[in-house]
């Protein structure tokens, strides 16, 4: 890996493409092996969380501006889609993009006024937006369903298999896009902001602009995902905007490895499956999560991806540098 053509030339590109192709193949072919609808639904959930965690990672993992209110976009778009469907009869092919656009617009507004704030302040404001939406939904009238939420939404597709493939294709599209963004100059700039925002500014980068754009992309993807989930569950409730959802997504990204897109994918799969299997444990689950997050921070701060990369590196005999 000593020539710079290697880093930027076709070899690395094809290696990455291969990795994603393998992943896509697994995702697309899995239902041949997995026939039980319960597991197909579970994998649908995995797809959903992968989309949420990786979209979160684009802003927060790369620039270090931790977004504590990702659920704001998820719940907001979910309800938007639900309302449009229940009142105007709009179908998923329309409500999902509208959900995304609404979320993107909110991201633009919220981002422009908040992203000039430093880390903890940005985190607080995003949290507040999420909490405000949640509280407002809880006390809302029949139109938004209050605590119970809204039911009777048109289903996403007509079977768990359909849901699996729709969400899977969406997930793969998101992963491809986000991954290649992360390896592009845009991604490099975002990382520089996260590393050392002052140095980035001092190098002539308009950091607020890049943060806002990342935020909008992040929000839009989460919005589409929220609308998708609303149709899949045929129900929306205030819990879709709750801070525990934001926290869960955050944990998935942290455990998997922030700032890499691939890490959150791993984290999302892992924690969703863990979530399900530990369901019988009730409240203890959250305890295990918190324990896991603390353990990861202390022993593997860069997340599972770091461990995974090290293993691959040993396998192919590469000493340092990037693996994927």
């Amino acid at each position: 890996m000593n020539r710079y053509e290697d880093l930027f030339g076709p070899r690395m590109f094809y290696r990455r493409l291969l990795g994603l192709a393998i992943f896509s193949a697994v995702v697309l072919l899995a239902p041949l092996v997995v026939e039980d609808p319960y597991y197909r639904e579970l994998l649908f959930l995995c797809h959903y969380y992968v989309i949420l965690a990786s979209s979160w990672d684009l802003l927060s993992g790369f620039t270090g501006n931790i977004n504590f209110g990702h659920a704001f976009f998820i719940g907001g778009a979910g309800y938007t889609g639900a309302v449009l469907n229940l009142n105007l009869g709009w179908q998923p092919w329309l409500t999902l993009p509208i959900g995304g656009i609404t979320a993107a617009l909110c991201g633009l507004v919220v981002g422009t006024v908040t992203l000039r704030l430093k880390g903890p302040y940005f985190a607080s404001v995003t949290f507040c937006f999420g909490a405000l939406l949640y509280k407002w939904l809880m006390v809302s009238s029949k139109f938004l369903g209050g605590e119970e939420g809204l039911s009777g939404i048109v289903p996403l597709t007509d079977s768990p298999l359909g849901n699996y493939y729709l969400s899977g294709l969406f997930m793969l599209a998101v992963v491809f896009i986000l991954y290649f963004i992360s390896k592009s100059s845009f991604g490099l700039i975002l990382r520089s902001i996260g590393e050392n925002e002052t140095a980035s500014e001092g190098s002539g980068i308009n950091t607020t602009y890049y943060k806002v754009v990342a935020f909008i992309i992040s929000a839009a993807i989460a919005g589409v995902a929220g609308a998708m989930y609303a149709h899949a569950q045929m129900h929306v409730g205030p819990e879709m905007a709750h801070d525990s959802l934001s926290a869960l997504i955050l944990m998935m990204a942290v455990v998997g490895g922030m700032g890499s897109i691939i890490g959150p994918i791993m984290g999302a799969y892992l924690l969703t499956l863990v979530n399900e299997t530990l369901r019988f444990m009730g409240e203890l689950r959250l305890l295990i999560y918190s324990g896991a997050v603390v353990a990861v921070i202390f022993f593997a701060p860069k997340g599972l991806l770091e461990i995974f990369s090290r293993a691959i590196r040993r396998l192919i005999g590469q000493e340092r540098g990037k693996v994927i």
Binding site: G64, I66, V113, T114, L117, G119, P120, Y121, A123, S124, V125, F127, C128, F129, A131, L132, K135, W136, V139, A247, L250, V254, E283, L284, L286, L287, Y289, S290, G291, V293, V294, I297, F298, P301
Partner: protein, 287 residues
């Protein structure tokens, strides 16, 4: 007229309680530069310990209160020493770590005490009626205790040697080291003090609000709002902002609906951060 009086009285009481929680929170930020997301958990632990000692073990009130507060202070210092100290420089990780601790305590309470609210007997029964407004003695005691402790803290920080050395660390850690102040000790003591204050609030509020495992969240967020409004690290700011929040919430609660009073602090945070990020009351410089 009674409405106005209600707002004033209740607002002051809640303001005082909030200030107990907020001054500890702002102290930790001012001294150690960290936002301690497990601060609300100290409040919760205070309440649960009060329940355990007073209701379950039937120990008398004063002794229970002291044990609860001291216990929480020790827990706070342990968290600082074992959890935060190794990670001090990485603010993002400290945030996530303290949040994880808070969740851990929540789950611990779920595990030990279950999800239902745990009641604690009022320390003193009865109420007085002032100008048509009913005020329980418990609330009155809470007000006085809160005011007393905040005043004590003020005195400690501004007038005593130890307090001033803590203040010195807050202002300039490197200079403080040069004059021989041990900043690690200052951090730990600050953590203990702030945890103790939050616990006091928890102990005295426990007869008014039941102890539930999720009760760590709202005091944390309100403390956060208060500290942002009043200016991070500013003791005076925290006290004033606490009262402001107490009055605003009571106002909204009585005039509009109790449902919306919990949104006041959220809107306050957003407005302050967007419009005047250094806080309404601080002098305009931010770390």
């Amino acid at each position: 007229m009674t409405t106005l009086l209600s707002i004033l009285v209740l607002g002051t009481i809640w303001g005082a309680v909030y200030s107990l929680i907020a001054v500890g929170f702002t102290l930790i930020f001012g001294v150690a530069g960290i936002i301690n997301l497990s601060h609300g958990a100290f409040y919760m632990l205070g309440a649960y310990l009060a329940y355990t000692f007073m209701t379950l073990l039937k120990i008398n009130v004063p002794l229970s209160a002291v044990m609860a507060v001291v216990g929480v202070a020790l827990i706070g210092m342990a968290i600082d020493h074992f959890g935060i100290r190794p990670m001090r420089e990485r603010h993002a990780y400290v945030l996530i770590l303290t949040l994880a601790f808070a969740l851990f305590f929540q789950e611990l309470m779920y595990g030990i005490y279950g999800p239902y609210g745990k009641p604690v007997q009022s320390f003193v029964g009865g109420e007085i009626i002032l100008g048509g407004v009913h005020i329980s003695y418990q609330k009155l005691i809470t007000l006085f205790v809160a005011a007393a402790f905040v005043a004590l803290l003020w005195f400690f920080i501004k007038k005593t040697k130890t307090g001033k050395s803590i203040s010195a660390v807050a202002q300039n850690k490197d200079a403080a080291i040069l004059v021989g102040i041990q900043y690690e000790k200052a951090y730990r003591m600050t953590m203990g003090i702030s945890a103790a204050l939050a616990a006091v609030a928890g102990v005295f509020i426990s007869p008014i609000l039941e102890a539930v495992p999720t009760m760590w969240a709202f005091p944390l967020f309100k403390a956060f709002a208060i500290v942002i409004i009043g200016g991070l690290g500013s003791l005076e700011g925290a006290i004033i902002a606490s009262l402001l929040l107490g009055y605003s919430e009571t106002l909204v609660s009585i005039l509009i609906s109790a449902n919306y009073s919990d949104m006041v602090y959220l809107i306050a945070i957003i407005l302050v951060l967007v419009l005047r990020p250094t806080g309404l009351l601080s002098k305009g410089r931010r770390s």
